[in-house]
């Protein structure tokens, strides 16, 4: 059971050299902007910009290619679902009808619908490169320090650091339990019938969660004994301080926010309408 997941790789690039907190703030604000705006022009500009940053980061294609395929697959499903449920959503939003061709019943392809679905895709695509960059170029242990720096309580930051650190451990536990279950003839693959399969998954779930609850007890006792949480603040071994590069990144995200909000406001609507 070899499963690929996105993970940090140490590289040297302008993006890698940014402090973790800079990248976190950039990613958060970028997501907010792309959620608010539906303006095709600013979404396109943002998408192009994110691609440039992606190129700057020197991350290798094979480190994230599998995710790309997954994303494309979900895109396809989602867009088919949108069209099946509401083939005239675009007409409703943009107020005009330019029918291209008729399919069957109330299903027909309109320019408006195509443009609307193109916008949904774009909206999602503008976040993907930045999200990928954030995951691929941020050292997990520096990440905890940066969460704390932007004002998140250090105990929560520490919990996030623990979470990232335990993912491989829990995955190994899951595999061990799953293998030993399979050795006893408990099959959780698609060959089994739904109900039986569910029952078999529960037989993996049970030892996994109960042993994890046990582990929570042990780890919290250990941390309690070492005086974790005694003081209001703590320092971080991996903290990075801000450099000129970080301030430049902040400037960029502020400009992006300002421009796209101005566009939305001056447009009078979240949607850019090329049809009128």
């Amino acid at each position: 059971m070899k499963v690929q997941m996105l993970s940090y790789k140490r590289l040297d690039s302008p993006i890698h050299r940014l402090a973790g907190s800079t990248k976190l703030i950039f990613f958060a604000l970028w997501s907010v902007v792309s959620m608010i705006t539906y303006d095709t022009r600013s979404l396109l500009a943002m998408f192009l910009f994110s691609l440039i940053m992606f190129a700057l980061s020197k991350v290798k294609f094979r480190d994230y290619s599998f995710v790309l395929y997954l994303i494309l697959f979900f895109f396809l499903l989602n867009h088919i679902a949108i069209f099946l449920f509401s083939p005239h959503e675009g007409v409703k939003i943009y107020g005009t009808t330019h029918e291209l061709f008729h399919i069957i019943g109330w299903y027909s392809v309109t320019l408006e619908q195509l443009f609307y679905q193109f916008n949904i895709m774009l909206k999602y695509l503008t976040v993907v490169p930045i999200a990928l960059l954030f995951i691929l170029t941020t050292d997990p242990s520096e990440f905890a320090a940066s969460l704390n720096r932007i004002g998140v309580n250090y105990k929560i930051s520490y919990a996030v650091a623990l979470a990232m650190r335990y993912i491989p451990d829990i995955q190994r536990d899951y595999q061990n339990i799953s293998f030993s279950a399979q050795a006893r003839g408990i099959d959780t693959s698609r060959k089994e019938k739904l109900f039986k399969r569910l029952k078999n998954v529960v037989s993996i779930l049970l030892p996994l969660t109960l042993s994890s609850v046990e582990r929570i007890g042990v780890v919290s006792a250990a941390m309690e004994l070492r005086g974790f949480g005694r003081h209001k603040r703590r320092t971080w071994y991996n903290a990075k301080s801000f450099t000129a590069r970080d301030y430049a990144a902040f400037a960029v995200i502020l400009i992006v926010m300002a421009v796209s909000i101005t566009l939305t406001v001056s447009n009078g609507s979240r949607f850019y309408n090329p049809f009128v």
Partner: protein, 186 residues
Amino acid sequence: MAKRNGISISTFVAVGIGSPLFVILGRFGSIPSGLPDTNIETTYALLALIAVLYGPIAGVLVGLIGHTLKDAIFYGSPWFSWVIASALVGLIIGLASGRLKIEDGQFGGRQILKFNLFQIVANVIAWLVVAPSLDIFIYAEPVNKVFAQGVVAGAANIVTVGIIGTLLLLAYSKTRTRQGSLTKEV
């Protein structure tokens, strides 16, 4: 555990270990139900267990951090409307935590009923109200599509948590010593 500043350390450790569990079960523990685009997500049974054992703060944080990490490392980008819905499920089920004395090994008919009442309310609010509304507000997706998705996801999660979550809690309560189970020898 000793309490300091109101929140015990075990709450944060529960978040630190519960979130990766949510991630791994979210990836490997979801079974396609046969209907397209709907899975039986066993990971929500785990979220319910953590929320009941460690309270609403642990619940909301495991939902939030676990779902964000799962989306981020396996799918490349978090889908925020559903992340927020997961956090809400953890929060509301966590509110039941104080009313169930599961640490004392008591998990009988009344507690099972109470737990399921909370989980149904949590799932209905999260998947039938919050997630679709956010999808419409953020992504401007078609109304009927997101509500159809919400109804299916909500129903699947209610059944999953109702059956597997209850089983997990029963199994856990059996590992605890019952309060007042000692008898005096004469």
